[in-house]
């Protein structure tokens, strides 16, 4: 079982991100369960959503307290919410930021941490600062849990027309950026 926790703010599409991830995994024939922390629906308020991916039916309904991956859609949450709480030892973190881990003061974190400018990519490809699809694209590259093609299929199933294509393009751009960054790091 692979567990993902997504942090963001109300209005950034955190719940949709968890749903898209689960649909992408389902599209690959896997079992997936997505659900939000419930009730914090106010715009701008901290929101979290969860996604479990596994090869057997998922029965447990507890929140993800020991995530394999943490996705942070808004870096200002780093000072407000315990986003890394319970992160597994070999877990990974993906943060939406134009700055790197060192500049965010997170160089000491033992988990694999990558940043990607998801808001900028969304602005460029979608025309709106909604970072969720781009961040998921980066997650595909970072974790290898879900193929980028499956994610794009989930995006196109959920949205249509320009919104679908913009989000898919932003996701693909983030995917390539994170993938290339990891390859560079491996070469170094």
């Amino acid at each position: 079982m692979y567990a993902v926790r997504i942090h963001g703010r109300g209005g950034q599409g955190v719940v949709t991100a968890a749903e898209l991830l689960s649909v992408a995994a389902f599209g690959e024939g896997r079992h997936a369960q997505a659900f939000p922390t419930f009730g914090s629906e106010r715009t701008g308020a901290p929101v979290a959503a969860f996604c479990r991916i596994g090869d057997r039916p998922i029965r447990a309904r507890e929140p993800v307290t020991e995530p394999d991956a943490v996705l942070v859609q808004d870096a200002t949450l780093l000072h407000q919410v315990a986003v890394f709480a319970g992160l597994r030892e070999h877990g990974c973190v993906l943060i939406n930021s134009t700055r790197d881990a060192g500049a965010l003061g997170l160089a000491g974190l033992s988990a694999r941490l990558v940043t990607v400018p998801a808001t900028d990519l969304a602005q460029r490809h979608l025309g709106r600062p909604l970072p969720n699809a781009a961040l998921l694209g980066g997650f595909c590259a970072l974790s290898g849990q879900v193929a980028i093609a499956s994610l794009c299929a989930a995006i196109r199933a959920r949205f249509s027309g320009r919104v679908a294509e913009g989000n898919a393009a932003a996701a693909t751009a983030a995917y390539e950026k994170v993938r290339d960054g990891l390859l560079e790091a491996a070469d170094a």
Binding site: V23, Q33, F35, F38, A45, P46
Partner: protein, 417 residues
């Protein structure tokens, strides 16, 4: 077709395939997504013929439901929490008049203090309203129970509540096989009312009845629910044959055969409990869990048969009867009348508190060691309660408890879950 879909939307699509002719509803979290999707289906004509009536309250929703059902329309509504309480008087009328309305309750706590999150306080408060109550373990079962509910309701001429955990199920996205229209049509023939208000054959229903008949009326209401004890398993078996999966029925035992310890629960917590049971079984512990699907009517015989051989029974429930403790537990005790075993009541998951595997492991270990209190509040923050009690002892007017404890706790946004 099996799809990755939100529980609420899957329920809405399933209800639509049951071809309700009147839907009357007032939105309330966490029921909202269900009725929003149904209203969309009516508006687009995907669900036709059907009238979606926007009402001004839950009282009106059930009243419109009563009128529609009495004139022979297949009728559906959904609510939760305070909304269910607000329609209470009409609920009793619907069951008293024998109207086969199907209603989803997206289970949510009851205030004050206001709390939008899940527990069973709402539907449990209406356990004696004369409605059949079925509790869904997961979204697949929630979907399947709705198809069965219309069959049961119309066969018995009784209203049925399908209870599904608010947010935990309604807002979860998971693989669900939404029944196709063809098989649903075959399983659920058009509604043929057992009684109907018809101007060509005028009758009165719901008129005043004096002491000479009222006891007999109530007796028959009870007898009809007892008849449901036979029909619920029959309909579940027929559903299983038609759709190729198990759903519904009275009770659902899991690894209970040789169990010394059996946990009893309703609703979505059963999945988490099953995971814990499997882990404990792997470690050699003889433990099982009994899911109660039909809480009204309460299957005394089936519960007794499933639990009677156990050494101890832990009833874990998402509601509290203030002043006594367990609601489900009291019913289970009645089923076990005359049988001596250790019985524990655990109040868990109130107002959306997550019931975690870690907490269940600790709880079951205490139960197996027979170190559990007869009435336990799972994960109760004792320090928090003690501080508030201390304030009450030392100050005449310490302020409202709920707000005091929230202040003690500090910012909660940093917590996960």
């Amino acid at each position: 077709m099996r799809e990755q879909i939100e529980g609420s939307r899957a329920v809405a699509h399933t209800v639509a395939r049951c071809r309700p002719e009147v839907i009357c509803a007032y939105p309330i979290s966490p029921q909202t997504h269900i009725v929003e999707e149904l209203s969309r289906l009516v508006k687009t004509g995907e669900l036709a013929p059907c009238e979606f009536v926007n009402v001004e309250s839950e009282y009106a929703a059930m009243s419109v439901g009563i009128g529609a059902s009495a004139t022979g329309a297949r009728t559906y509504t959904a609510t939760a929490s305070q909304g269910l309480l607000y329609m209470t008087e009409a609920l009793y009328n619907a069951s008293g008049l024998g109207l086969p309305i199907v209603m989803t309750v997206a289970n949510r706590a009851i205030g004050a203090p206001i709390n939008i999150w899940n527990d069973h306080g709402d539907s449990m408060s209406q356990r004696d309203s004369g409605w059949i109550q079925l509790y869904a373990e997961d979204n697949q079962e929630a979907v399947d129970l709705h198809v069965q509910a219309f069959r049961l309701a119309e066969e018995l001429s009784l209203p049925v509540m399908v209870c599904m955990d608010g947010f935990v199920l309604t807002h979860a996205v998971e693989p669900i096989d939404v029944p196709e229209a063809g098989p649903v049509d075959a399983f659920l023939p058009p509604y043929e009312p057992r009684q109907v208000l018809d101007p060509d054959e005028p009758v009165s229903i719901g008129a005043m009845v004096g002491p000479e008949v009222f006891t007999e009326v109530r007796y028959l209401a009870h007898a009809r629910q007892m008849r449901a004890l036979e029909l619920i398993p029959e309909v579940a078996a027929e559903f299983s044959a038609a759709f190729g999966r198990t759903a519904g029925g009275l009770v659902r035992p899991y690894r209970c055969e040789d169990a010394e310890t059996i946990v009893v629960a309703l609703g979505s917590v059963l999945g988490t409990i099953k995971d814990v049971v499997d882990e404990l079984r792997d470690a050699g512990t003889r433990i099982g869990v009994l899911g109660v699907t039909s809480f009204r009517p309460f299957p005394l015989e089936e519960v007794r048969a499933a639990l009677g051989h156990a050494a101890r029974v832990v009833v874990l429930e998402r509601a509290l009867a203030v002043g006594i403790g367990g609601i489900v537990a009291a019913n289970v005790r009645m089923a076990l009348s005359g049988i001596h075993l250790h019985g524990y009541t655990v109040i868990a998951g109130l107002g959306g508190r997550a019931i975690t595997k870690a907490s269940l492991h600790r709880l079951f270990a205490d139960a197996i060691a027979d170190e559990l209190e007869p009435l336990t509040f799972l994960d109760l923050d004792r320090a928090l309660v003690e501080r508030e009690l201390h304030r009450g002892r030392t100050e005449r007017r310490p302020g409202p408890s709920a707000e005091n404890m929230m202040r003690d706790l500090g910012p909660t946004a940093t917590g996960i879950g």
